[in-house]
């Protein structure tokens, strides 16, 4: 019963986040056009276009995630006060944004497979999917930390921009969140590049980003959700009157 209620809450948040996201048609269109522009601009330069386009897709999905997190910030305390658990809010958004990410990644994979004819199209699809998977917790974490949209967008441009300038074999690339995806994309056009531990490392990175987003959300959450006593040093209801 409790699990059902939690599931319902998560689905309601996912659904209404989707409704809100779809209504941002212009922003969504621009966000999706951006990686396409990166890909289109570099398509004449051989296999590098796939890596550029695939990693630049993070602009689209992480950008949407940042906007979702920042838009919800003033409302979240009230939702938690009403009875939501902070994790339910995050999971609902994660669910919707990952679905959005899968959709964008699917379309983008098809475009790049037909546009660049990579030697390993499945690796390309997996690389794009990994970038999409990582973009959501990255965006939610940045959205939780950034005080305003400007700072959030600058962080996004900074991280994705630096990842775009690096080869996947460079040491610094390994410390950035989209390294696994970048490596898979690299492998899809350069079979000599091995993937190795890049994928599990990337998945762990994504999990850590989601943990950070959860921590931020819980820290900012109200200290009480119903009949309770709260005061200095307490963070959860301790007494119901």
């Amino acid at each position: 019963m409790r699990a059902q209620l939690r599931a319902r809450r998560i689905l309601v948040i996912a659904k209404l986040t989707g409704v809100e996201l779809v209504r941002r048609r212009v922003a969504l269109g621009m966000l999706t056009a951006l990686p396409l522009a990166f890909y289109g601009g570099s398509v004449g330069r051989g296999g590098g276009a796939v890596i550029t386009g695939g990693v630049a897709m993070a602009f689209s999905i992480a950008g949407a995630s940042i906007f979702v997190a920042l838009t919800a910030r003033p409302v979240d305390p009230r939702l938690i006060l009403a009875g939501y658990h902070p994790t339910e809010l995050l999971l609902g958004r994660l669910l919707l944004l990952e679905l959005f990410g899968v959709l964008v990644a699917g379309v983008f994979s098809v475009v790049m497979v037909f546009g660049s004819n990579p030697s390993d199209p499945w690796a390309l699809a997996a690389g794009v999917a990994l970038v999409a998977l990582t973009s959501v917790p990255f965006g939610l974490a940045v959205g939780g930390l950034a005080p305003h949209e400007l700072e959030g967008v600058l962080a996004l441009i900074g991280v994705v921009g630096v990842q775009l300038t690096l080869y996947s074999t460079q040491l610094m690339a390994k410390f950035l969140p989209f390294w696994g995806g970048q490596r898979l994309l690299d492998h899809s056009v350069n079979p000599g590049i091995t993937v190795g531990a890049a994928v599990p490392a990337n998945i762990l990175y994504a999990a850590a980003l989601f943990a950070i987003a959860t921590y931020i959300m819980r820290r900012q959450a109200p200290s009480v959700g119903g009949a309770a006593r709260h005061g200095a040093g307490t963070s959860t209801p301790v007494r119901v009157l």
């Binding site: 809450r9 309601v12 809100e20 838009t71 409302v75 009949a227 709260h230």
Partner: protein, 225 residues
């Protein structure tokens, strides 16, 4: 300027709703302190509200009224002291926290599972609350297309949705037209009559006759009027 509470706020209900052992206060804030950096906003402030009592908090800008409300709602933690709330809190912030691209119904639908209400019931109840304040229900507009007053009405309705034992309303009538403003104060009386503890932050002197008790917060001192 440091902010101090020379005298703690005290609950002295003026109507026949005395605090007894069997009726715990709806809200009891005891010796609450809060500072933002070096600036001390609240210093040992206490406030008790009985079930069925309506209290207006007045005071100049920067006296810590909204901070006290946020602490009582559990939105921010006090540096010292504590708050005990009896039952569910309905909190209406000064700035409407709404999703600009969602409609009023969608807001009610979002709050429904948190409040343990079926979606349709939450929407029905939300609409009823809005209709009491002449909200333009027929428009079904996204919040970004609503007037300031209509946004504030939705803000208030969300605080009331699902019922509450304590209402914390931080200048909830901003942007209301005259009719809605009058209606709001009539509702305060009816909520109190129904046993809800109601706290309203207000700047308007005329409002003070409409509640059981007025509490004044000053930057230098916080004291009951």
């Amino acid at each position: 300027m440091p902010v101090t509470a020379e005298r703690p706020l005290r609950a002295e209900p003026t109507r026949a709703r005395p605090l007894t052992r069997t009726s715990p206060p709806a809200l009891a804030a005891v010796a609450v302190t809060k500072a933002y950096g070096p600036r001390r906003v609240l210093d040992g402030v206490s406030l008790t509200v009985a079930p069925g009592e309506s209290v207006a908090i007045i005071g100049e800008n920067g006296a810590g009224k909204s901070t006290l409300m946020r602490i009582c709602a559990g939105l921010i933690r006090p540096d010292g002291g504590g708050v005990t709330v009896s039952g569910r809190v309905g909190y209406c912030p000064q700035e409407p926290g709404l999703f600009d691209l969602l409609t009023a119904d969608e807001h009610f639908a979002m709050f429904a599972p948190a409040l343990g209400l079926p979606r349709e019931q939450a929407i029905r109840e939300g609409r009823r609350l809005l209709s009491e304040f002449a909200f333009p229900l027929h428009q079904q507009a996204q919040c970004r297309r609503l007037s300031g007053g209509s946004r504030q009405k939705l803000n208030l309705a969300l605080a009331l949705l699902g019922g509450a034992h304590v209402l914390l309303l931080d200048e909830p009538y901003q942007g209301f037209d005259h009719g809605a403003y009058v209606s709001f104060w009539e509702h305060v009386a009816s909520w109190a009559a129904a046993g809800i503890g109601v706290v309203v932050v207000t700047h308007l002197l005329a409002d003070q006759a409409l509640v059981d008790r007025v509490v004044e917060m000053n930057i230098a001192a916080c004291e009951p009027s």
